[in-house]
């Protein structure tokens, strides 16, 4: 019995090692959204380009939709942009954009140069709607289910791997 006490530090070390092995592989920047499974926040945004539809929470729901928060000044947005271009060509799921704290002309130029994958774009100059959504960095992508609830949030660019392994399966799942 007294010998057992000498194993205790080893056991403790093992426990702490496991704790760190799991904890240190997590990305601390990947925060869980407080809005998961909640109805999308109330908001109304004017359109980015005059004469086009803007974006409001009443536009969400009915079917599965994706909301992507982007800006032309955001470098990772450029990285995920081709993924969304391909998505909008191959998938009929509506893709809506929230243009976050952007100079209007720059955002318009960015989209006409690279292509516009969005069916609707809300123009959030002040970033207030971003706060309503709990946005803490751009790009962020939300998946909204048929009932208009936020089911998934991805902070950071949607790379092809994330699109293929997370976004597309979830959309298929939610469409059922």
């Amino acid at each position: 019995m007294p010998r057992l006490i000498f194993i205790l530090p080893l056991l403790l070390f093992g426990a702490i090692a496991v704790y760190f092995a799991i904890g240190l592989t997590k990305d601390p920047r990947n925060l869980p959204s407080a809005l998961i499974d909640k109805t999308a926040p109330e908001f109304t945004l004017p359109p980015l380009r005059d004469g086009e539809p803007g974006l409001a929470n009443t536009d969400l729901g009915g079917e599965v939709k994706i909301v992507n928060v982007f800006a032309s000044w955001c470098v990772p947005c450029k990285l995920e942009h081709p993924v969304f271009m391909r998505f909008s060509q191959q998938n009929d799921t509506p893709l809506y954009g929230i243009n976050y704290k952007n100079i209007k002309s720059e955002a318009v130029a960015w989209l006409s140069q690279l292509g516009d994958p969005y069916q609707r774009i809300g123009f959030d100059l002040s970033g207030r709607v971003g706060i309503e959504w709990g946005v803490y960095g751009v790009p962020e992508t939300y998946i909204i289910d048929k009932e208009g609830r936020i089911r998934y949030r991805h902070a950071g660019p949607i790379l092809p791997k994330v699109m293929k392994e997370t976004i597309l399966p979830l959309i298929t799942e939610l469409k059922k």
Binding site: P28, R29, L31, P32, S33, A34, L35, P41, K101, S126, G127, R128, I131, E132, W133, G134, Y136, G137
Partner: protein
Amino acid sequence: MRALLICIALILAPLTSANAVLPNEVLKDPLLEKRARALSKNIRCLVCQNQSIDDSNADLARDLRILVRERLTAGDSDTAVLDFLIARYGDFVMLKPPFKGSTYILWFGPVGIFIIAVIGLSVFFRRRQRLIAQGEDLTARLSGDERERLARLLDEDRP
């Protein structure tokens, strides 16, 4: 003497709080501004994570500072402002974790470990005390090898 004073002033300089609040953000009402500052010090900047929005220069921190001041000016209580932010950003937005069911282990964990340690130690010492009181020769529990080593160590201390 003057050089010394300058040295002291320079050493103390970093202690005065360097904060990110811009002059144009400051509210006219000093009482409200004081509340805003106190609140901001406990609100996490989600971009830089271990800085409060009061300290951070990040864009989002500035937006949140202005938002806090707007809500206070509109007559919100301190808790109403915090609840507004928690509803959108989760408990993580507070630098000090809230006291509730899912965080009990965080708050009570260290105290719990301390209590277990104290109980363990007191059991250990009490048992030893009892054995000594019963007149049991504790050295009898040692192996021959250990007894020899103990004798040698005790001998070393003798002049």
